[in-house]
């Protein structure tokens, strides 16, 4: 116990004895967290609910947009189809056949040759009147009727004996020489035959 080291060692605890005594660990009583729990829960719930509602709304709006898109697409294709149909009608109105038919009904004729007027009053080309002969046949000829509907005309030759005939019969005779198809004239012919 005479060594200085030992003395030192013995001395230190003596000095720090009180502090060591104080610094000895002991269980701290649990600190009670008194922070309010309600706002946090509310916040989290709000975020959660807000998220869900937001998602729902977003989804709904997307769905709504999809409805609108489908409806608009439908409308667009309907309108495109209508436009095309109108275009088709327009083209039909522009059909040269139709235009020509109308022009012809108004008495117009395609001239055989054009003439040109220049600004200084000079006329180039030969002025040829358009005549009905220049008219163009623009509709196809009538389809020939089958024989049943278009029988050969009955031609009756009448000798030129001066028999007293009525005016009516005379008219019938003249017509009878030409090709006549109607039943009325056939009847007349029949009458003449009887005579």
């Amino acid at each position: 116990m005479s060594s200085p080291a030992v003395q030192l060692r013995n001395r230190v605890p003596r000095i720090a004895e009180a502090a060591v005594e104080r610094a000895r660990l002991s269980v701290v009583p649990r600190a009670r967290n008194r922070a309010a729990r309600v706002p946090f829960v509310t916040l989290v719930s709000l975020i959660l609910v807000g998220g869900i509602v937001g998602l729902l709304l977003f989804n709904t709006s997307m769905q709504q947009a999809a409805f609108a898109a489908t409806a608009l697409e439908q409308q667009a294709s309907d309108l495109a189809a209508r436009e095309q149909t109108l275009q088709m009608e327009l083209e039909e109105l522009r059909d040269p056949q139709r235009v020509a038919t109308q022009a012809q009904q108004m008495g117009m004729v395609v001239p055989p040759a054009p003439t040109f007027l220049s600004l200084d009053g000079e006329v180039r080309g030969m002025k040829v009147p358009a005549t009905p002969e220049d008219g163009l046949r623009i509709s196809p000829p009538p389809v020939p009727k089958p024989k049943v509907l278009d029988p050969a005309p009955t031609i009756v030759k009448v000798t030129a004996e001066p028999t007293p005939v009525t005016k009516d019969a005379q008219a019938g005779k003249k017509k009878g020489k030409k090709a006549q198809h109607t039943a009325e004239h056939k009847q007349r012919n029949a009458r003449q035959k009887q005579r």
Binding site: T85, Q87, A113, V128
Partner: protein, 583 residues
């Protein structure tokens, strides 16, 4: 708390519980094996198909346009009307009546379809190619009336607004494919490629974040032709009127732009309404102008004479003694009119259309020389304008041609041509001796045979010198001269017109021999001193008396007069040709 001893034993309850759970789980396991082990793909496919809609996006077919962009054939949104007989059979008469009125379809056919042609049928076409708006409106109204079972699907409509205008060239579409003409030849270009859309559907609407793939449709490319719709219409009417009034078998006319070789009109008669191709005779569906070769007759003399002048063998004033008939090796050659010994210049030979005179002049040529020139004029080779079934005509090669054949070829017999070839040949004279290959398509297009056609591929070849061409044009003016020519009715008042008549013996298809019928034609151009248009008219087998001058001449005059006025070409005011015809 008293417990019955059996139920209360926890051991036993636990065991029973395990057994029940094991049984349930084994059922699940078995089902799992059934679903995943045996044919899992079909279930996957079923799941995928549920709610996934696959729609074909039809490509719009390209229009066929005339030179001014006016549609000769266009495509319109259309629908096919389909019935489910299971649902429609009950009310078939009412629905049929409604559809017959609204869509203009046959009532009885519709009735049959609505009732189902087979027992248990669930899919019947009621109408096809109905314009979309019409079909939609009709079906909406039907639904309002309470009838169900009619649905619509896409089915594009091909419309030919001008009916028979250029029908022989355009061809037509069948139910699902192109059946003729340009529609078929250029189908690859016109058809485009259908697209496809795949998306998930809920209650008829697309599900926003669902599967969604779209392959857009590639629309067809329009085909622009060189035709002029109004001129084409007029030309067709003139040809129709001519053929009808002369009781002919058929006729054709070609209008060419002299400088470019563009075909402004190519008319055929008989023709048909492209909207109703089935109502027409099958033989009338193509273009006879190109598919039926014929012997051109005297129009050919123009080519012979042009070649002779170019070769320096003759001049327009060359004097020729024309005997009443010319005896050659195998037979004697005569003229169309009886005459004694005539003293005609070469111009007179053309103006009077003398076979004998032409043969005598052509004696200066060997077979090889003549055929060589005619080939350069484009005879014997297809014009390749893009029309199906074009005939090349027949031109005997010079090496194997006898001198008798050469004599006949000189005035247009014993060789055959199509109308387009002949028009292009006459156009060579109009175009100062340069042959331009004719074209029907603006720009270029590739046919189904892989040939590129169109104005871009037009080839110019000099055939005769400019001087020779001008001289021949001057000679051709005398053909329409009132006093010396054979075709005064081909004159266009106020203009200088050059032309040539043709009346040829025609080979009958039945016997393959000359049957006495004729082919009459007229080819010419105007204004003669500055040609702008070449018109060629040909009429086959007229039953009334007449020749090229009296039948085809007036038709030529009308078409030429209209073309000149339509394109605003004023008369040149040049002096008419005064070349002597006799000496």
């Amino acid at each position: 708390m008293s417990r019955t001893p059996g139920r209360g034993a926890p051991q036993l309850r636990l065991r029973l519980g395990f057994i029940v759970i094991a049984m349930v789980l084994s059922f699940f396991g078995a089902r799992l094996v059934q679903l995943q082990g045996i044919d899992p793909n079909s279930y996957a496919a079923m799941a995928a198909a549920e709610g996934v809609e696959e729609v074909v996006l039809p490509a719009e077919r390209g229009d066929i346009l005339d030179r001014n962009g006016v549609a000769l054939a266009d495509s319109v949104h259309g629908k096919m009307v389909i019935a489910d007989p299971l649902m429609t059979a009950e009310n078939a008469p009412e629905i049929a009546q409604f559809l017959a009125q609204r869509l203009g379809i046959d009532y009885f056919t519709a009735l049959e379809r609505l009732r189902g042609r087979k027992e248990g049928s669930r899919f019947e076409y009621v109408a096809r190619r109905v314009p979309s708006t019409l079909a939609n409106d009709a079906v909406d109204e039907l639904e309002e009336l309470g009838f169900e079972g009619i649905i619509l699907r896409d089915d594009p409509v091909r419309d030919y607004p001008a009916g028979d205008v250029a029908a022989n060239l355009m061809g037509f579409l069948g139910t699902d494919e192109a059946l003729g003409g340009f529609e078929r030849t250029f189908d690859r270009q016109l058809a485009g490629k259908d697209g496809m859309a795949r998306y998930q559907v809920g209650a008829g609407n697309r599900i926003p974040l669902g599967e969604n793939t779209v392959v857009p449709a590639r629309d067809g490319t329009p085909l622009q032709t060189t035709l002029d719709r109004d001129l084409q219409w007029f030309t067709q009417k003139v040809v129709a009127q001519t053929v009808q009034s002369y009781g002919a078998r058929s006729g054709a006319a070609v209008v060419l732009d002299t400088r470019t070789g563009e075909t402004l009109a190519l008319a055929d008669y008989p023709t048909y309404d492209a909207n109703e191709p089935l109502e027409a005779d099958e033989d009338d569906l193509g273009s006879r102008a190109l598919s039926e070769p014929y012997e051109p007759g005297s129009v050919q003399k123009v080519l012979t004479v042009a070649a002779l002048i170019d070769a320096g063998k003759v001049t327009p004033r060359t004097r020729i003694k024309v005997p009443p008939s010319l005896d050659r090796q195998d037979r004697s050659i005569g003229d169309w009119f009886d005459h004694g010994n005539l003293r005609l210049t070469l111009t007179g030979v053309i103006a009077k259309s003398s076979n004998i005179g032409t043969v005598l002049a052509a004696d200066a040529f060997s077979q090889l020389e003549l055929v060589d020139y005619l080939r350069k004029f484009g005879l014997g080779q297809r014009t390749d304008v893009g029309v199906r079934g074009e005939s090349a005509g027949i031109l005997t090669p010079g090496e194997s041609m006898t001198s008798q054949t050469k004599d006949r070829v000189a005035f247009g017999q014993s060789l055959s041509v199509n109308a387009m070839q002949m028009a292009a040949a006459v156009n060579t004279i109009a175009n100062r001796g340069v042959h331009v290959t004719p074209s029907l398509v603006q720009g270029s297009a590739t046919t189904d045979e892989g040939v590129t056609v169109g104005t871009d591929t037009a080839v110019e070849t000099r055939v005769v010198s400019e001087q020779a061409a001008r001289q021949v044009a001057r000679m051709m003016e005398r053909v329409v001269d009132e006093n010396v020519g054979v075709a005064p009715r081909a004159q266009v008042p106020g203009y200088l017109v050059a032309g040539k008549t043709g009346t040829a013996q025609r080979v009958s298809e039945k016997c393959g021999c000359y049957d006495g019928s004729t082919t009459v034609s007229f080819g010419g151009f105007a204004p003669a001193d500055d040609p702008r248009f070449t018109v060629y008219v040909v009429v086959h087998a007229p039953t009334k008396d007449g020749g090229g001058g009296s039948i085809a001449g007036p038709a030529f005059s009308r078409i030429m007069g209209y073309t000149l006025s339509r394109y605003g070409v004023p008369p040149t005011g040049g002096k008419p040709s005064r070349l002597p015809v006799t000496w």
